[in-house]
Symmetry: C2
Subunit: 317 residues, 2 copies
């Protein structure tokens, strides 16, 4: 690694926003050098606590995250925000939202916000989000908040990277939305009922309690419910307190390391899967996959035997 | 392959429901022999047209699929249904729904229904669904309908396997649901507005038209909108006609093969990714991933270098 790299990494570790922005882009877009950069930054990561926040569109997630960020800034803690936005290419929501939100905190280098859009490739976004968190972590953040719209398996995989997972619900969104979120309910360490001044807040609370009575958690934690009106800043201090309580619980019960090991077990398998695919692809010529696909589509070849043959060749020469 | 296998495969090809059920279970659960079975069945597949149907929970998807199935049965066409249900482990929705729906068609061997639940692993469900379709295809189905709740990337990947993709919307589900479905709107070949007797059907139609005016499809097809009340059987014949029209269009423009090739290009890469991971895992000892995860979590090792080392070893010995 040359001097320029070293200088860049030092600036990044000092929290310089430009150095950080460049590093995140490199990692997110898998530009040449991305893995060298992560290798260099990894030893400087591990300090930040990672919060995952998820909720349906319209649940006021971004407002809540912004308010939490302001709260932590008053305590002088360095904050990073990764907003994962699976909106369609039509809307370009991620980039627009990014700009609007950045203006609010523009003058404060203690908050860094980054939006990421959904990629087409399977699993790609969860991994990219994890890698971006590592970069933010190495830049001296005390807290990293990963927010995502909780609508599918991808989003579940993303929030599972977090040390502490917060699920945001709102009254009056109907049964359909609660159905969508069924898979996400189970990963909540803390529930937030946002816009709790709306009618139906108690019903949502009862529904959460009913779900909780069915579940058994290996860590014996009963996820508390915090009520907020994020747009007015109500309940934010209590939410921060509840987060701190769960954090203490994790530390007391020695669960932080256990959870981190579990996360790395899954991440390593994903990394291995991607790296092995790359290895196989290096053995394939230009356009070879396309030719194979045509042969399979025309039923000239069976894909199961074909894949075995390709895999068998890898590493032999 | 021994005689018993041959007999089994012959029974399956003849449409025997028990032979089919056993084969699907073997493939879905990756029981020993699953890939041999797929190799044997692949040459007998390729006859069925595959419809993908997706819609939010509550859109009446299953009712619509059942009605379509009945319609096709009147034309004496053999039908297979794969219902992919990403409900949480709490509800056990997939298995329950399966039993209820099977009763309706219990006496008709011309309809075979199979539910599949979401797996934890990334990409696993889309692949399993594709493999199950191949088995159904080999059992002499004319039509296979894959239905899934359209809430995330997984579900988009599942319906992308289809030759023809149908997106089901309903009036009055609010903007939030339409936002969730943004990524799915773009893959629709045909839109269905189900429960079209409800207020707001015209608004949904206008929204679809507005989206369509923004999009450009490489095949120049403008997705038609069909209005149905599936619970009363209204609009089903028109939907079947519209499906047949798009099918004719695909054939006339020679697009079926093009689309099948594109699908196989993606499927082959996914198959290769999984198979390469297996190859790497065969090089890892019992509990080795867990030990590595612990070392990474304790920051004794950097995961990026670690994965490179593992990949480098594969195939060498």
């Amino acid at each position: 690694m040359n001097d320029q790299w070293q200088q860049w990494i030092e600036r990044l570790r000092g929290g310089d926003p430009r150095a950080l922005a460049r590093a995140i882009s490199m990692v997110e877009n898998r530009e040449p050098g991305w893995s060298e950069l992560l290798k260099a930054l990894f030893p400087h990561s591990g300090h930040a606590r990672i919060l995952g926040l998820t909720g349906a569109p319209g649940s006021g997630k971004s407002t809540l995250v912004d308010q939490l960020a302001k709260h932590y800034r008053k305590e002088n803690r360095m904050v990073g925000i990764v907003a994962v936005d699976p909106t369609s290419p039509y809307s370009g929501g991620a980039i627009l939202g990014d700009r609007i939100r950045m203006q609010d905190h523009f003058t404060d280098p203690g908050i860094y916000i980054r939006s990421m859009a959904t990629r087409g490739s399977l699993g790609g976004l969860a991994r990219a989000t994890a890698d971006v968190s590592t970069v933010l972590d190495a830049s001296g953040r005390d807290l990293i908040m990963i927010e995502t719209v909780g609508v599918g398996q991808d989003e579940i995989d993303i929030v599972r990277l977090a040390d502490i997972t917060i699920v945001i619900l709102v009254p009056g969104m109907g049964d359909d939305v609660q159905t969508i979120k069924a898979g996400i309910m189970e990963i909540a360490d803390i529930f937030v009922i946002n816009k709790c001044d709306r009618e139906g807040a108690e019903r949502v609370e009862r529904e959460i309690r009913a779900l909780e009575s069915l579940a058994t958690r290996s860590d014996h934690w009963v996820p508390p419910i915090v009520k907020t009106v994020a747009s007015e800043g109500k309940g934010i201090a209590e939410l921060a307190k509840t987060i701190a309580q769960y954090d203490s619980y994790l530390q007391k019960e020695n669960l932080v390391l256990k959870r981190t090991i579990q996360n790395w077990r899954e991440r390593l398998v994903e990394m291995l899967r991607d790296a092995m695919l790359e290895k196989a692809q290096a053995h394939l010529g230009d356009g070879e996959v396309g030719r194979y696909a045509a042969e399979v589509a025309e039923h000239k070849r069976d894909p199961y035997t074909l894949v075995e043959e390709i895999v068998g060749k890898v590493g032999r020469n």
